[in-house]
Symmetry: C2
Subunit: 293 residues, 2 copies
Amino acid sequence: MNILHLIKVQRDQLSKAEAKVADEILAAPEEAMNMATAELASRAGVSDPMVSRFCRSVSCNSFPELKVQLAKALAHRASFISEAVSKGDTAHTVIEKRINANQAALEYLRSHLDTQSIDAAVKAMSGARQIIIAGMGGAAAIAKDAQHKLFRLGIPTVAYDDHLMMRMAAAGASSKDCFLIFSVTGRTNAMIEIAELAKQSQVTLITITNPDSPLAKLADITITSGDELEDTTIYVPMTTRIIILTIIDIIATALALAQGPAAEAQLTKVKHSLDTTKRKASAERKTSKNSKP
Amino acid sequence: MNILHLIKVQRDQLSKAEAKVADEILAAPEEAMNMATAELASRAGVSDPMVSRFCRSVSCNSFPELKVQLAKALAHRASFISEAVSKGDTAHTVIEKRINANQAALEYLRSHLDTQSIDAAVKAMSGARQIIIAGMGGAAAIAKDAQHKLFRLGIPTVAYDDHLMMRMAAAGASSKDCFLIFSVTGRTNAMIEIAELAKQSQVTLITITNPDSPLAKLADITITSGDELEDTTIYVPMTTRIIILTIIDIIATALALAQGPAAEAQLTKVKHSLDTTKRKASAERKTSKNSKP
DNA sequence: AACTTAATGTAATAAAATTACACTAATTGT
DNA sequence: ACAATTAGTGTAATTTTATTACATTAAGTT
């Protein structure tokens, strides 16, 4: 946990004077970092030694050490501030801004992803006879990606982007199966309909979607994809995509761990099956050098 | 530029004694951060004031300020060290590790993505009559995602994951088109074959792939996806996926900017077209409250 | 209400960093 | 080649900064 979090959490267990110091730091951490004890003390309205004592209370050995911790915490925070691209931006600026935005999205995920729902999903999927994945529109690519990942782990998995196929799959699913729905908004009527059908089949319904949506309410397990993050303004709403993809990554990794050696063997087998489709590095170099000039 | 970079760059323009200090810091920045001037000075074999002078030379006002700068620089560096998951990991640990790995991948992209090739790709795509996207296996989902993004910008775009369709598309493409190939390894024979066909059609061939691969050599424009990052060991090789997705994001964003108001209008139109497929938040809340208990 | 404990401030001390100054090495012009 | 100037470095003094020791006050307890 970073120092700012720590200070925030411990804030109420500190003594009055220490709390004043805490408040002063939390109010303006960036500035606090560049102050001497004396200045911070006077701003907080306490004596100099209180600052030293405060440092100890938040498990730093000295005030300089606290400054270092603050610097670390703020270094992370700074990169979360991702600005929107604007007209005059060069390619380089766009690159920086989009990478910042995506990193910020991951940082958001770090603090908002619920461990328990991941655990529950992994458990359900781990014991499932088959996994059926559904995603439409922007989520269709995500569904396909998830299918690819899970299938490689040796878990029978299908992905649909066709509404009629989804209906059939949802109606035909059994309680031994897992039904996974990806939806960015959680408000697409067609998708909600599928969820309702799936529920009637007693299948374990897992949704990766906006938690405040009607779709989420139907699910046995809901994993939050940060719909709040999405700036629905003009420029490409992408961050949710990264978040969902990382959620898949996490689930697949956890599943592989849960399956143990079986998954490893399966991955190796699948990987080797591709060997003959690949061109060797050495053979190619000759070819390309001869054919080009 | 972060302080470690700065020190490295300025290293050779410093005086002898200052260079010693620089070397000492570069050798063990983490430790240097927790030393007093006196200790750092003695380790570097110089006098105390040299440390202060060194700080000035690298544009810090004081040694404590340098420490803060170091802390910031190291905070970033630390998060790039992403460990592999291992057997006993809890869900929480897996989450942290995978998020770290993905953030690290983005950081890698930040320093390795070539601005010029992005510029070239955007320019080519911006003037293209249509964009044809091809991706197989793991890249099929990526291709689909890219199609979805570009199509929303009002650019005629198709994506194929079927080899035969790709052949036809590649053979039928014209010099006014862009042919986009996604491939993680750049060594899939089937994909190389498509690239060769596309070349014969005089189409502008853009590949997003491993730059050292045979596929990359065929392309007019190659954008590097970090194949080197991929740990091809057992657990889910995912980082490349995030990288490629972010590259698409960057290109799409830059394209939207390049197209200007036209793209904005198009995005708004496409967005509104989805309105009637969505369930309203207010209407839903009533429904779910009434139907549940 | 007296006593005990915790919390805070004042003053003193210790630690750390920087400045001032002196000396040395290097460079340049005659 | 040698003086003269300049840049570089170390020593010692000073200043700034942080911490400790101790006294005082406030809060809580029997």
